[in-house]
């Protein structure tokens, strides 16, 4: 469904992604784990089109993206829930969700919003409040729900567990598992390697802008090098 070939990106004169190759098959949950600064967030930004790439290409459902803007990629079904949640803080919860379906104006918008409220009942209670007043965990749920309103075939999910209490982290990973049942393919980027690998089918380990290892998630969890470097076991 999503193929990345030799992707390179730079900030100014410094190259931060040195040729990434990666595949996500339809229906999979794939995770990219790695330390802070490895380039995981940049990778997702390149995939969704908000960061220009300097070499390589992204192929999504048969379409090749090099400079395609983000709003066109979403139309093809590639959604991105960015790092730091990036919700519209001045707008209400409901307005955030409605804008998630900005590309659509049909009956399904209301149905999708009901589904989002069913998935996150807390959002229904707070639907008329300014999103900036939500707690960190609530904002993360809103960010995921907003991305789902865009009817993604594949969701790029960046650090959903960042800064959350352990109980909420588990709840968020449960939601990620639930996305699979909704038929959404997920590419999950996480510093919480253990949590991410537990919900994923396959994983990639990124180190300073390169893919260092890849394999089935269970194999990575069992790998002694991974256990020592990322899982702290």
């Amino acid at each position: 469904m999503l193929t990345v070939e030799n992707l390179r990106a730079r900030y100014g004169r410094i190259e931060v992604l040195h040729g990434i190759d990666l595949t996500v098959n339809s229906g999979e949950i794939v995770t990219v784990v790695g330390a802070n600064g490895a380039g995981k967030t940049t990778l997702l930004r390149c995939l969704s089109g908000i960061q220009p790439i300097t070499d390589g290409r992204v192929v999504f459902r048969g379409e090749t993206y090099v400079t395609t803007p983000a709003h066109k990629r979403l139309r093809h079904g590639l959604a991105h829930s960015p790092e730091g949640r990036q919700i519209f803080t001045n707008l209400s919860v409901e307005e955030n969700l409605r804008l998630g379906a900005f590309l659509y104006d049909d009956d399904r918008v209301a149905r999708d919003m009901d589904e989002a409220f069913a998935l996150f009942p807390m959002l229904r209670e707070k639907r008329n409040l300014a999103a900036g007043g939500l707690s960190g965990g609530q904002q993360q749920m809103l960010a995921i729900a907003r991305a789902l309103m865009g009817r993604p075939a594949c969701l790029l999910l960046d650090e959903p567990s960042m800064g959350l209490a352990p109980l909420l982290v588990r709840q968020i990973f449960d939601v990620v598992t639930g996305l699979k049942a909704l038929g959404v393919t997920v590419l999950l980027v996480e510093q919480n390697a253990f949590g991410a690998l537990k919900v994923a089918d396959r994983g990639y380990v990124m180190e300073t802008g390169r893919i260092a290892m890849e394999g089935p998630a269970e194999a990575l969890i069992a790998d002694p090098r991974i256990r020592e470097a990322y899982l702290g076991i």
Partner: protein
Amino acid sequence: MDALMQFVFSGVTVGAVYALVALGFTIIYNASDVVNFAQGEFVMLGGMITVFAHLAGLPLPLAALGAILATAALGVALNRLAIEPARGAPVVSVIIITIGASILIRGAAQLIFDKQLHGLPAFSGDDPIRVMGATILPQSLWVIGGALAVFVGLWAFFTRTLTGKAVLATSNNRTAAQLVGINTGWVMTLAFGLSAAIGALAGVLVTPITLVSYDVGVGLALKGFAAAMLGGMGNPKGALAGGILLGLFEALTAGYVSSHYKEAVAFIVILGVLFAMPQGLFGRAGTERV
């Protein structure tokens, strides 16, 4: 009493002009957090282009429409040529760019048109209407009506339409706006085109009363800015209320104190608002959890 009513009428008329300028600020501010100080030049261009197109033989409504469209096109060009290339620069830098653009537009207008004062015939005649012992010009009603119509239109746009929400979303978080599928470049084009058109409309409506010359934009931009600050930047309701209040303050000061102090009112208002309530009458204080 008669004198008071007369001051109120003239205050509301001038205030409606300030409100129109402030409403123009609102759209660009909502889309980009930038205060566009070239807004006053849009008002000037609306008046000047209408005058010269009318002199060239076009009927007044057609001249006015042409002026509004031409000014809107200039607003879009300003965004494309000067604002978009500076994307990522701090908001203050972009505001300085708009000040530069206003100087450029003023200079160009002086060369292309002239340095004279120009007027236009009033739309519905010059016979004053007597109300409660005072008089009001029919053209004043046009100005007030124009401000009200633009206010209602903008209010509906920002609260009732998805496109309006997309403008607000673009200003709140540009990256996130792109990620929900909003073409943010198009939103900026829309914001500058619409702001310029509203400014030009103000110029068309007010020229029969106040006349127009190449250099009226600076004063209007500053007064409109004071009005927008007073009402709360970014809120159409605030722009309307702030404009009318500022106009009333000016007219009452001129009437009861001295017309020498009239010009100072706007600046006293800016200072007072900044000291006492920086968010203005209707502005919402930013709440954000990080």
